[in-house]
């Protein structure tokens, strides 16, 4: 079969550790500093090019090398079946290896147990006196006497109009 070369171009950041792999490991080549790579003597047919670069996700590219016109190459991404007019490979996305730390948000502080306790305390501090405000001064005095006698205020005595002994 006539052999032809395939040239292409890859665009990640640091080019020294990027490998371009043909057909699942049959041939491995590296990138030049300007991002170019080439495979020599590829027989005609359909082949698969994958790029291995840490930190980026490249879609494998299906390359059809035509037998009749040497040098003519068609390429298509396998992930989204987009055709490529020239063999320029870009990463589809960055790979996330770590879980992203959730950004700081006020709601998360409020929803946490500490926030809930603080919220409940605030409610009690502001709302409870409002409940007690409606009582007469007499009732308040009686409640205070009871408290001095009993030591523990019962809920019934706190309610307005209730707990007369």
């Amino acid at each position: 079969m006539a052999g032809l070369g395939t040239k292409g171009f890859v665009l990640p950041g640091k080019t020294s550790n990027v490998k371009v792999i043909l057909n699942g490991g049959q041939i491995v080549t590296y990138l030049r500093p300007d991002g170019y790579f080439s495979f020599q003597n590829i027989p005609a047919g359909t082949h698969l090019i994958e790029v291995a670069a840490i930190g980026y996700f490249f879609s494998p590219v299906r390359v059809d090398v035509s037998a009749r016109n040497p040098g003519k190459v068609q390429a298509a991404l396998t992930e989204n079946r987009r055709g490529l007019s020239e063999l320029v490979l870009e990463p589809l996305r960055d790979e996330q290896y770590y879980e992203i730390r959730e950004p700081f948000s006020i709601m998360s502080v409020v929803k946490s147990p500490m926030g809930l306790m603080v919220g409940f305390m605030l409610v009690v501090v502001f709302l409870m006196p409002k409940l007690v405000e409606n009582m007469d001064p007499e009732e308040m005095r009686r409640a205070q006497e009871e408290m001095r006698n009993q030591g523990v205020p019962s809920l019934a005595s706190l309610l307005p109009g209730g707990g007369r002994n």
Partner: protein
């Protein structure tokens, strides 16, 4: 995270300028790496493809590393500091030949050039951009170029070599354009005085091998008993210079000053090695003679490379980089080992895990109180660290202490079973034990049984099995592993066994077998000392029982009729199942040897199917739930049988590389076979698909990965197999009152009705390996560990590969947690 480079083939030093001193090495694993000479750390390394064997390596212009690989077809230049490839050019030639790479100070039109002889053609390549400046073909058939010499200050080069008819050829070529100026050839009519080499050898029998070395005027012959150095004096006269009785290795010549060359000799003597550097013209004087203590576990020296430096008193000092038998790399300088690298771990054959010792209570407390001074010093250092008063050495000491006492690197078991010892068998015949906490080497042992000797010429390690895992009865004993190897490359070669203690690394038993080893089958029976019984099947299909004790025979006899095994013949496409018959027929009365009879065989049609992959369950896997609850309060019972075999076959035309056939010509057929009865439980065909297939079988499912030619993408498929015969037991009343067969054990003797479900998905990456995670209590869901071709590991939840996924799951299915069906498997890092 550790990186290794493998057994070094060639090394070039780069120590001219001030600054980092490096050595560039190429290894048998097709790796090019730059190491720091001070510490042995890797600056950069590149792993070339599996067929890209490195033929030559050199440094040009002080800043480019030039490599010639793939049989002389690919020439690459790499930037020395960071490993970035600068240019790559491919050289073609008319015929196949040995390749030679030479960097001379050739300047052609202000361009530094390299001379490369590859594939029968001489090329001059520019150093800057890899352009081929000129090419020269030689009319002489099968010319082997040995040397290219450029006389200083001239415009031409001499190319000398041998042609097939043992004629010595010399070509004079114009360096600027490759034009041939002169051609001379002389035939070897014989030297004027032929001193037969056999006279010199006298009483040393055995094979004599000439050691290749580039030292002029001296060559060495190695026999089994000794190494003899012979000098060429005058017209073809040979003179024995020295005869050494030990293993000796010679390095290449190094030119230390104008016209002077030196070379190094390394010899073993007991537990020391002697390094001697001699000038090339004068055998009797020594430029350097050192003796260094060497660990016996490394074996003999295989290669040595030397480099010189100028000491402060203007004399020559030498440093030597040596490659040992266990593939480790050491640097010797000034009588001591400066650093060493265990590069045998680059070629691991088999790995098994071993438990660490149980923690004995009360030890840690006592140890702290013993070293009160150490403890005080440690606290002072930590205090200094927090107060920012620590010097860099103090910080290093604090880090070291923290690492040593951290939970991860303790030498005892932990509660969840994560800390273990990984025992790895490497190609060099050395066993390493690595700690899973921090990856350090706990012990390493060069196996005597896999050592090259007269009785075992080419030892090859095969696999590792767990021999003794003490549980209940024998808790005082240490666990041990069995190492199986063979003494030659063919499968008929005799086998060797070794038993190694996993805690200390001592080889306490080694056997040379009288039969070959075709398969090793660990049996599920153990004797009273918790040694697992193993059956070794040899090439004649006889089974040998190990350990050879009476107790083992008794245990085995009681389970004699339940032992079955199978063999897969890849070349003929036949899978056969065997059972044991009687004791071996034959002359030797050996009660540990058994004959086998063939029970069943499956013959796959070889015109249409060729076996490429098989997979079975891991032996120590436990299935936690027999039943699988599905939606609508329904139950399906898993068909769990430990005798399942998964076989994948492809069309014979499609067994090459991917993309080499059209989709119409290739198909992939997968089988699930029960290995006791030979019953094919399931068979499925994928049209238009091709290998390579990576598969993993666990519980009642099989996941396999292959290449779909029609869509030109990789695919993963899952097959799950369920037991229909127990499916009548869904009624509660029947469970409580009636008779049910749920508790009956799964047995291959009964013909169970099975149904299977399967599904396929697209997958982006190509794989090198696939495995499944284990869970102790059955709580964590299983994940598939996938090793991609970019050397990354992906953990994919098994729920993505559930054959019951559908595009629109019903409410009940959604409750169960079935993920809606998509055509490709997503890789979500957070999940």
């Amino acid at each position: 995270h550790q990186q290794y480079i493998g057994k070094v083939k060639q090394a070039v030093f780069h120590t001219h300028k001030t600054g980092r001193k490096r050595v560039v090495a190429s290894t048998e694993q097709n790796i090019i790496a730059t190491l720091d000479l001070r510490s042995g750390e890797i600056f950069w390394r590149h792993v070339l493809g599996p067929n890209d064997v490195v033929d030559g390596i050199d440094i040009a212009l002080g800043k480019y590393v030039i490599t010639l690989s793939s049989g002389g077809s690919i020439l690459r230049a790499w930037n020395l500091p960071d490993g970035q490839m600068v240019w790559e050019s491919s050289l073609h030639g008319p015929k196949h030949s040995k390749s030679l790479l030479l960097t001379t100070n050739l300047i052609i039109e202000k361009d530094n050039a390299l001379i490369v002889f590859s594939n029968g053609r001489l090329n001059a390549v520019s150093c800057i951009d890899g352009e081929v400046l000129w090419k020269k073909d030689f009319e002489e058939e099968s010319l082997e170029v040995q040397q290219v010499i450029q006389p200083p200050g001239s415009d031409f080069i001499y190319v000398v070599g041998f042609a097939a008819s043992s004629q010595f050829q010399m070509y004079k070529i114009n360096a600027k354009n490759g034009e041939l100026l002169k051609h001379e050839s002389t035939a070897f009519s014989g030297r004027s005085q032929q001193t037969p080499v056999s006279n010199l050898l006298e009483d040393s029998p055995g094979l004599a091998v000439i050691i290749h070395s580039s030292v002029t005027g001296i060559f060495a012959i190695k026999t089994d008993a000794a190494t003899i150095f012979i000098r060429v004096i005058g017209e073809g006269k040979l003179e024995v210079v020295e005869k050494t009785n030990h293993e000796t290795v010679v390095s290449d010549a190094l030119s230390i000053s104008e016209g002077q060359q030196a070379f190094a000799l390394v010899q073993h003597a007991g537990s020391n090695i002697h390094l001697t550097v001699k000038p090339a013209h004068d055998w009797d004087s020594n430029l350097l003679k050192e003796s260094i203590k060497m660990d016996q576990q490394r074996g003999f020296v295989h290669k040595v490379f030397i480099n010189n430096y100028i000491r402060t008193d203007r004399s020559h000092g030498f440093r030597a980089l040596i490659v040992m038998e266990d593939h480790s790399l050491l640097l010797l300088q000034q009588g001591a080992i400066v650093w060493s690298r265990e590069d045998g771990l680059a070629s691991i054959i088999d790995v098994t895990t071993s438990e660490l010792p149980v923690e004995k209570a009360g030890v840690s407390v006592a140890k702290v109180e013993l070293n009160l001074f150490e403890w005080l010093k440690g606290h002072v250092l930590k205090l200094k660290g927090t107060l920012m008063l620590a010097t860099p050495e103090d910080i290093a000491a604090i880090q070291y202490m923290r690492l040593k006492s951290s939970e991860k690197s303790k030498m005892t078991r932990d509660h969840n079973g994560f800390r273990k010892l990984l025992i790895a068998l490497t190609r060099a015949g050395k066993l390493f034990a690595l700690h899973t906490g921090d990856g350090r080497i706990v012990w390493s042992h060069l196996l005597q049984s896999l050592h090259k000797s007269e009785s075992c010429r080419q030892p090859i390690g095969l696999n590792l099995h767990q021999w003794q895992v003490p549980h209940h009865h024998a808790l005082d004993e240490n666990p041990s592993v069995l190492v199986v190897g063979r003494c030659g490359p063919s499968s008929d070669a005799l086998g060797v066994l070794s038993l190694v203690d996993s805690y200390t690394g001592k080889e306490f038993s080694s056997l040379r077998l009288v039969h070959s080893v075709a398969q090793v089958i660990p049996l599920p029976y153990t004797d009273s000392t918790e040694q697992r019984l193993h059956l070794l099947i040899d090439a004649d299909k006889h089974a040998h029982l190990y350990p050879k004790t009476h107790e083992a025979i008794d245990i085995f006899q009681s389970e004699f009729s339940n032992v079955y095994w199978y063999s897969v013949d890849d070349d003929n496409g036949i899978i056969k199942g065997y059972a044991l018959k009687t004791k071996c027929s034959g002359n030797v009365a050996d009660e540990f040897c058994f004959d086998s009879r063939e029970l069943w065989s499956i013959v796959l049609p070889s015109e249409s199917e060729k076996i490429i992959t098989t997979a079975t369950r891991k032996l120590n896997e436990a299935v936690h739930t027999q039943a699988k609850l599905i939606a609508d309060q329904d139950v399906m019972y898993k068909y769990i049988s430990s005798n399942l075999l998964f076989v994948a076959t492809v069309a014979p035309k499609a067994s090459g590389e991917i993309g080499s056939v059209t989709p119409e010509e290739s198909w992939l057929v997968v089988y699930l076979i029960d290995t006791v009865t030979g019953r094919v439980l399931h068979r499925m065909t994928h049209h238009g698909s091709q290998g390579p297939v990576q598969a993993v079988l666990s519980e009642n499912w099989v996941v396999y990965h292959y290449f779909n030619l029609r869509a030109h993408r990789y695919e993963m498929s899952v097959i799950e197999i369920y037991d229909q015969s127990r499916a009548d037991n869904k009624d509660v009343w029947k469970l409580v009152v009636g008779n049910h067969n749920l508790t009956s054990p799964v047995s291959s003797y009964s013909r169970a009705e099975v149904i299977t479900k399967s599904q396929s998905y697209f997958f982006t990456h190509s794989l090198k390996a696939i495995a499944v995670t284990l869970t102790v209590k059955g709580i964590t869901s299983k994940q598939l560990l996938i090793g991609t071709i970019g050397d990354q590991v992906l953990a994919l939840d098994k729920r993505f590969l559930d054959p019951r996924r559908s595009v629109n799951p019903t409410q009940a299915e959604r409750e169960e947690g079935i993920i809606p069906l998509t055509d490709s498997l997503p890789i979500i890092p957070q999940v």
